[in-house]
């Protein structure tokens, strides 16, 4: 044994003596191998069907892909019928039931995948003709049996159930309705309701209007020659009748003016699915096509892209972060995506945005561009290992009206792209301010943190299918506006405690944008109120209501309350209108359970005597009022005034919020004096 090893080692030494390994740097590449494109041949049948043949005799098999190049169809309130049409192909012909088709296909070990855009079929060469017989029967003679349609409807409905929990599918739905909208075919999203509008006739109509040989291609790949293929195509597809295809004119969407967040709430989710999306104009073989491919490779094409390196390798936020810029005859799409852990959602958004900024303002580097060229050259070569690629190239040349030698020159053109070209493409295609951020994640955990990335600070919430999400959850049985208000009163000390308070004087400070203000508020039973804001060295603003009349005077200008304002002020001046809605002249309706800063709260709508609306939120946990939103109308313009209450503390047996966020700034109450026998003079209107 020992001897054997020694002699083997010696043998190696003799051979490899020259090879003193220098491990410190990567070995040089050998001379680049020649990349040769496989050849293809083509012919057209009398009915206009274009056939492409790629011979490959390595394995004894053959495949056919039929592509029907139909224009996209706006499905609207019947969204889903085109894909259901695809499901119906292969579910019955004039002479075969679905069971017969499946049985015959499985007997020859065939792959047979019909879909709305055509069919892919493949098998061992020895069963070639049997396969063609099945394939042509499926495409030329579909029978659309009602019984199969019913099954497809059921399957589709079951499938829709699973969409509700599939974050990728949800993100795709939100993207579709957000980027393309309801009037663009790419914005169609199937739901239970659209599926219920679909009839078998819709499917038959789709077939009649779109499936015709003169807009179709068949790519044949495998152990077959053109001479063999031609008579077979005549035999099985020669009888397909020519038609006039439906033509569609589309109005394509544009990117949003500002960043907007569109979100689906997935309570409890440990990850947030993020997609930055907007439409782009980019076509296969178009002017910018190669520049955009290089650009995207550098930004987020794979494990060496900037997004991956930053979000995964540097920060460990995600398993992967990528981007894509799709090319499409009608409208393409920019997408940057990652699934990140919930806690770092905002940091991840920040990193995405800074990468967009970096590349669109700073461009790319020479080594990055070279590496991207190498990568795309390599993937072009790797792609050629699959003979289907050559067939796809041939179809692309015809479909996108590319020069005949487009793919012959592909690598030359790719390598001729300059850094200036890519930097110009970065400015044009990576928009640092015009994207939608699609977010599927736990609202309670992330809403507050990501709000700053939404321009109008208002996130749009959608359901899993991209429709407006019902904002509120249902309340448990037995809970009414009255019980919520009663619980609130109880929580602050109870009716009896409140009734013992004859007057209360609060002082505090408001930190406003322009500096600090002193705040004073006096209330006296039953409905007198005095409020003042004082800016030292400038003066003050007083708002007084004496029970029958009101006035605002000082820095902000003077005005007396009109009749409507008097009525409303009457309610506001009470210690708690929740205690006695009748006296306040208000109506209350419980709307449901809402989320306020991630916590559940009952939302009640109040209507003041003047008709003015106000909403208050009461914590479901401790029953305290945590937020109020009042819709004020001045000179015909509406504005929302939001107050957020916290830091409830006792004063004279009743809890008051000592910290209030107001539209004028944050108010911190310093002290509240109760029952100090405040004189009516304090509410005198001068």
């Amino acid at each position: 044994m020992k001897k054997f090893i020694c002699s083997t080692v010696l043998a190696f030494l003799v051979i490899t003596n020259y090879a003193q390994v220098d491990r410190s740097k990567a070995p040089e590449a050998g001379p680049a191998p020649k990349i040769t494109l496989g050849k293809y041949e083509s012919f057209t049948l009398k009915n206009g069907l274009k056939v492409i043949v790629v011979e490959n005799h390595k394995l004894p098999k053959v495949s056919y892909s039929l592509v029907v190049d139909a224009d996209p169809t706006l499905e609207g309130n019947k969204a889903g019928y085109v894909s259901m049409f695809g499901e119906m192909l292969g579910r019955g012909t004039k002479t075969r039931t679905k069971i017969q088709i499946d049985e015959e296909a499985d007997l020859i070990g065939a792959t047979l995948n019909p879909n709305a855009g055509g069919i892919y079929a493949g098998c061992l060469k020895k069963y070639n003709e049997k396969l063609l017989e099945l394939m042509s029967d499926i495409i030329l003679n579909p029978s659309f049996p009602q019984e199969e349609f019913d099954k497809v409807v059921k399957r589709t409905r079951d499938g829709l159930e699973t969409v509700k929990t599939d974050v990728g599918a949800i993100a795709a739905n939100l993207t579709a309705t957000t980027v393309y909208g309801k009037n663009h075919p790419y914005g169609d999203v199937e739901t239970d309701s659209t599926v219920s509008n679909i009839t078998l006739q819709d499917l038959k109509d789709y077939y009649a209007k779109n499936f015709m040989p003169n807009v179709s291609y068949i790519a044949i790949v495998g152990d077959i020659t053109k001479a063999e293929a031609q008579p077979l195509m005549e035999k099985y597809f020669g009888g397909w009748v020519k038609g006039t295809p439906a033509k569609v004119k589309l109005t394509n969407p544009t990117p949003p003016a500002n960043p907007e967040i569109i979100m689906n709430d997935r309570a409890g989710s440990k990850q947030t699915t993020l997609r930055f999306v907007y439409p782009v104009q980019n076509t296969v073989g178009g002017e910018d096509y190669l520049k955009v491919r290089l650009l995207n490779t550098i930004l987020g094409g794979g494990a060496t892209g900037r997004l991956f390196m930053t979000l995964r390798e540097k920060h460990g936020y995600t398993y992967g972060a990528y981007s894509s810029i799709s090319a499409d005859e009608n409208v393409g799409q920019f997408t940057a995506s990652a699934d990140v852990r919930t806690e770092v959602t905002d940091s991840a958004i920040y990193q995405f945005i800074s990468e967009f900024n970096k590349i669109s303002t700073g461009g790319v580097t020479v080594p990055e561009l070279q590496s991207a060229k190498n990568e795309l050259t390599g993937s072009f070569a790797i792609g050629l290992e699959d003979p289907q690629t050559v067939a796809r190239f041939a179809i692309n040349i015809d479909m996108y009206k590319l020069p005949k030698d487009y793919y012959e020159n592909y690598l030359t053109n790719l390598n001729a792209v300059t850094i200036e070209d890519v930097n110009a493409a970065a400015v044009k295609y990576v928009l640092p301010f015009n994207y939608h951020i699609i977010v599927v994640g736990d609202r309670a955990a992330i809403e507050k943190k990501i709000l700053k990335y939404d321009t109008d600070k208002k996130i749009t919430f959608l359901d899993p299918f991209g429709y407006p999400a019902p904002e509120l959850k249902a309340v448990p049985e037995g809970v009414t506006a009255q019980t919520v208000m009663d619980n609130y009163i109880a929580a602050v000390g109870g009716k009896d405690a409140i009734s013992k308070i004859k007057d209360a004087t609060a002082t505090g400070k408001v930190s406003a944008m322009f500096g600090q203000m002193e705040y004073k508020q006096i209330n006296k039973y039953p409905n007198k109120q005095y409020i003042s804001f004082t800016i030292p060295s400038m003066g003050s603003q007083e708002i007084i209501f004496n029970g029958t009349a009101g006035k605002s005077a000082g820095l902000g200008g003077d005005y007396a309350y009109d009749e409507k304002m008097v009525k409303d002020a009457n309610a506001d001046a009470m210690f708690a209108y929740e205690l006695d809605l009748t006296t306040a002249g208000m109506q209350a309706t419980l709307l449901g359970i809402d989320l306020v800063e991630g916590k559940d709260a009952y939302k009640i709508e109040f209507i003041y005597p003047s008709g003015k609306k106000s909403y208050s939120w009461y914590s479901t946990k401790n029953n305290l009022k945590i937020r109020t939103l009042t819709i004020e109308e001045t000179n015909g313009e509406q504005s929302e005034q939001i107050f957020v209450y916290s830091d409830y503390k006792d004063a004279g047996g009743v809890l008051y919020p000592y910290y209030v966020k107001t539209p004028n700034g944050d108010l911190v109450i310093e002290k509240i004096d109760v029952n100090t026998n405040v004189s009516d003079d304090a509410f005198k209107i001068k």
């Binding site: 499985d106 007997l107 499938g159 929990t165 990850q271």
Partner: protein, 446 residues
Amino acid sequence: MNKNFLALGFLGSVSIAGVLAQGPQIKFEEYDLPNGLHVILHEDHTVPLVAVTVNYHVGSKNENPERTGFAHFFEHLMFEGSPNIKRGEFFKYISNAGGDNNAYTTQDQTFYHELLPSNQLELGLWLESERMLHALVEDIGVNTQREVVKEEKRLRVDNQPYGRFITEIFVRAFKVHPYRWAPIGSMDHLNAAALSEFIDFYKTFYVPNNAVLCLTGDIDIAKTKLLVEKYFKDIPKGTKEIPRPKADSEPPLGKEVRDTVYDEFIQLPAVIFAYRIPSLTSPDYYALQMMSSVLSGGASSRMNKELVDKQQKALQAFSFSYALEDAGLFISAAIVGAGVDVNEMEKLMQIEVDRMKNELISETEFNKIRTQMETQSVSANEGVMGVATNLSNAYVFNKNTNLVNTELDNYLKVTRDDIKRVASQYLVKENRVVLFYMAGKKTSGQ
């Protein structure tokens, strides 16, 4: 809507031992370096590409039960670099060369692969030899990849509908053998592990005598041998004993295990039967694979035809043989259609199981699955990467690299009686786990 999303989600990161192939004969050479590295070479000049693969014979079954997830974690760590490859540059070398690369981890192996233009063969060898000789196992890499792996688990397991499918089955089907935990392992274990433990794992398993280097494609065998020596011969042989669990350590299940698990991210429940089966090296492997084809290979297979299409009780139904190196599971599962009771689904699935045990499959079915095997075997060695993977796995698991050329014969030897026999032998209640996978809040289950 992508109709295939369910299948993807359901199987998750499961790697099912692929059916190895026939088609044209695959010629290859194989030998060992003195340090124990097994080398397999296959020359094919169809396209100017080369597949560089290293198959380390370490998977989650080699892990310390207190440190599960290590093998998969290493798959990540092993891209962190070496003294000569800066952190984060491994991927860059590959893509800069116009190549493509990745890796995967199963219960039994960790497989690294690069597909490169053939003039970059030496680059691939340099990268792989750096990884084998002195990969960086440092705090910074460990900490970063720990976070990445946690995200992978959230993405593929925790947050994925049916994502815990495999974990929940194996933890109930195996009580002793390390197959009881899934390759993704425990994040707590990864958090608790010290750097020295990672270094120890590296020194134990990432050694030439525990690896197979398989190169296929546009190579010159003689020149390639010299290059392999240049980069790999000086890598020292491992000195530590390589822990391997006892294949027969697991006693028979003994009685049916029945349980319910909850997944808050699903809408439709699933019913799963998992029967214990022997190793992928067992002669019964082929009959079991063919049985799964009878049940769910193709639209006219039994489960698809009966449960999905005719009765429309299941949205999806499938069977597959999850055979591993030491043992395996034959899994039959259905995603239950809306409004269908799981107990009813179980009964319908049981009817199919009983039919397999009680009746011979028909001549037509038999011909069908034989044709399927033939078709699969023709396609299995398509592409240089497919060939490399099949050659390497045949050596690692079957110690018979030439299996790639003879496997179809093994399938064609299976008789209808064999299929009935394996059904009767393995598809018995005492040998199975029945799992109801229900929509709802997750329990504290493992």
